[in-house]
């Protein structure tokens, strides 16, 4: 190494600038793909949102920003965004916290005490709902939550309760019923990502800590969580975005009902596109949704960068 450095100094500089340029070749497929599949269609969508349009060959009438002004005065639209908070609890908060605990428990405790096979098996069962097509999961949960002959109510009745709740028919509880499904669906994602992340962590850290007498909870807080922070951030960001976009569970379980109590933004735009034939208005909803998502994610991304910088500095 030391002998090579002096003679290699001039070509190394040349090589470095050539290398910087050469890396762009690796990005080419992704850049072209993103331009054609994402950026261009999105620009067209924003363009459509400035028109009144019934879709297809119907005439497009210039509408300026009126669609957006209408949105601000649309109570359904605001309700849809309020409901997003429930989606965030069901998709981000509960599964991430539970997922952290479960991943650490499986990796650091059950994996050691009962063997890796037990841990892997449990992980697989938590992950199982994630592999279901949403069409299947939607069918299953509409069956679980059904009032008559529903799985949940059959169990509740078997326990002796006379009049079990009408999970999807009662506007006061329908959104919570949807959240049950979302937690069930989502939990495996953080568990698997976090467990894969824990493989990177040096086992000696844990051994040193337990030899020092650190209990499970202290190891969890001092080693597990800080070590897998990049993955925690990725999970939180992607899950939050997923929560802001939830569509199929609402479409399949409730159709936005009862009494519009479970409407979410994506479903509302879908309704405008395909049921009300208000394509311009639907595009405006989709655009507004995108802006909200960008803002929320932008803040999170910024926090992530800052966290990474602090870690590098500290």
């Amino acid at each position: 190494m030391t002998t090579a450095t002096p003679s290699a100094a001039p070509p190394l500089r040349r090589r470095r600038s050539a290398r910087r340029a050469g890396y762009w070749m690796y990005l080419l497929p992704m850049i072209i793909g993103t331009a054609v599949i994402v950026l261009l269609p999105f620009a067209v969508n924003v363009f459509i949102s400035l028109f009144r349009w019934k879709g297809g060959i119907a005439p497009m009438r210039w509408n300026g920003l009126q669609n957006y002004v209408d949105l601000l005065h649309d109570s359904q639209f605001w309700l849809a965004f309020t409901n997003t908070i429930f989606m965030i609890v069901g998709i981000v908060i509960v599964p991430t916290l539970l997922g952290l605990l479960l991943a650490a428990m499986l990796f650091d405790y059950i994996g050691r005490e009962f063997g890796g096979r037990t841990a892997a098996f449990l992980r697989a069962t938590y992950y199982l709902p994630q592999i279901l097509p949403i069409a299947v999961a939607g069918f299953i949960w509409s069956w679980v939550l059904a009032t008559q002959n529903g799985l949940l109510n059959s169990v509740i009745e078997a326990l002796g309760v006379k009049s079990p709740p009408d999970w999807l028919g009662d506007p006061n509880i329908a959104i919570y019923a949807v959240m049950l499904m979302l937690i069930w669906l989502q939990l495996g994602y953080p568990v698997v990502i976090f467990m894969a992340a824990l493989q990177r962590v040096d086992p000696e850290l844990y051994e040193a800590a337990s030899l020092d007498g650190a209990g499970w909870w202290r190891r969890f807080r001092a080693i597990t969580v800080p070590q897998i922070r990049p993955e925690v951030f990725v999970v939180v960001i992607t899950a939050t975005v997923g929560a802001l976009k939830v569509f199929a569970p609402i479409l399949i379980l409730t159709g936005g009902g009862p009494e519009g109590s479970t409407v979410v933004p994506s479903y509302y735009s879908y309704r405008n596109f395909f049921e009300l034939s208000k394509v311009g208005y639907g595009s405006a909803i989709a655009t507004a949704m995108s802006i909200v998502i960008f803002l929320v994610a932008g803040v999170m991304l910024w926090l992530q960068r800052r966290g990474a910088r602090e870690e590098a500095a500290g």
């Binding site: 290398r19 910087r20 762009w24 690796y26 990005l27 497929p29 992704m30 793909g33 993103t34 599949i37 994402v38 950026l39 269609p41 999105f42 067209v44 969508n45 428990m105 050691r112 005490e113 009962f114 890796g116 037990t118 892997a120 938590y126 994630q130 592999i131 279901l132 097509p133 949403i134 069409a135 299947v136 939607g138 069918f139 299953i140 069956w143 529903g150 799985l151 059959s154 169990v155 078997a158 495996g188 698997v192 894969a196 493989q199 844990y206 051994e207 337990s210 030899l211 209990g215 992607t238 975005v241 735009s269 639907g282 595009s283 909803i285 989709a286 655009t287 949704m289 994610a297 932008g298």
Partner: protein, 303 residues
């Protein structure tokens, strides 16, 4: 790896146990034995809750419609019957849908992972100029609601002649999945120790060789997780395939199920059977993957 750490770890604990009986008052450690089983019980209980709906799905798929309406969803089938499967297959060209789904998901998983690896290499290791901005754009691509793309994509697919072919969906999801993959991989790749790459560069290895002989082996566990996600996510996609693949001959498995679900004439047991058939392929893939994953992880950790 894990099996070698287990015994060394449990030994000090067991040596500790008699000590605790000596200093009975100090309570340096929580009682290990009951806690141990309590934690396992909690983990198993969560597993049972997760599995219960699926177990019942399987049970009811083997009932006849009359058996179901007579005894409800919790009872065992009075006789195990394949009638519901027959009913479902009579209504849906399942093999066709299966083939479409397999082609789409496999190609997207492979292409998406490859594209992710290449772009993440340029960003996480190459640190090309503007990589933060690029990552922001890719992340933006994963964040966009599909509603904000679907109308233009629909017209674009028609204009390019890919409408009602698997290719439109393959291209769209390769890009969308790779956008996420690039984001995930480059954040992991940027944590690679620079000494590892510098050593290879000083040995005279070019970019391409460093990628495949240094970066790829280290990234393999993450790549295999990513590939499984891509496969399963693409398999399960609903909205875009529904719009771009309107013809029955190119429909995917979930969409074939969903179109049937809207019809009132069908028995719930037939839908159970159809659901079971629709999730079986990903389940098989998932079980196979479980093995590859653990193997990949072992190889990666040995270095």
């Amino acid at each position: 790896m894990t099996t070698t750490t287990a015994p060394t770890d449990s030994r000090p604990r067991r040596a500790d146990a008699p000590q605790r009986t000596v200093h009975a008052g100090t309570r340096r450690r929580r009682p290990r034995r009951p806690l141990r089983w309590l934690i396992l019980a909690a983990a198993v209980l969560i597993a049972l809750v997760m599995l219960a709906p699926l177990v019942l799905l399987v049970l009811n798929a083997f009932k006849t419609g009359t058996d179901y309406s007579a005894h409800g969803p919790l009872a065992l089938p009075t006789s195990w019957s394949l009638q519901s499967f027959q009913d479902y297959l009579d209504r849906v060209d399942f093999l066709r849908a299966l083939w479409n789904s397999v082609v789409i998901s496999t190609l997207v998983a492979l292409l998406g992972t490859l594209v992710s690896l290449l772009s993440a290499y340029a960003i996480g290791v190459g640190r090309v100029r503007g990589s933060t901005a690029l990552l922001a754009v890719f992340l933006l691509a994963t964040m966009l609601p599909q509603e904000a793309l679907i109308y233009p994509l629909f017209y674009g697919a028609q204009a390019t002649g890919t409408f009602n072919t698997v290719w439109s969906v393959i291209i769209v999801f390769t890009v969308l999945q790779a956008a996420f993959g690039t984001y995930l991989l480059s954040s992991v790749m940027s944590t690679l120790p620079p000494s590892l790459l510098e050593a290879a560069a000083l040995d005279g290895a070019g970019r391409w060789r460093i990628l495949w002989s240094v970066v790829y082996p280290v990234m393999r566990p993450t790549l295999s997780v990513l590939m499984v996600f891509f496969f399963v996510w693409t398999w399960n996609e609903f909205y875009i395939p529904l719009i771009l693949l309107s013809d029955q001959s190119v429909q995917t498995v979930p969409i074939a199920l969903a179109t049937l679900q809207g019809q009132n004439s069908i028995d719930i047991t037939s839908l159970n059977a159809g659901s079971l058939l629709s999730l079986l392929p990903t389940l098989v893939f998932f079980i196979i993957f479980q093995r590859t994953l653990s193997r990949g992880v072992t190889v990666g950790s040995v270095k």
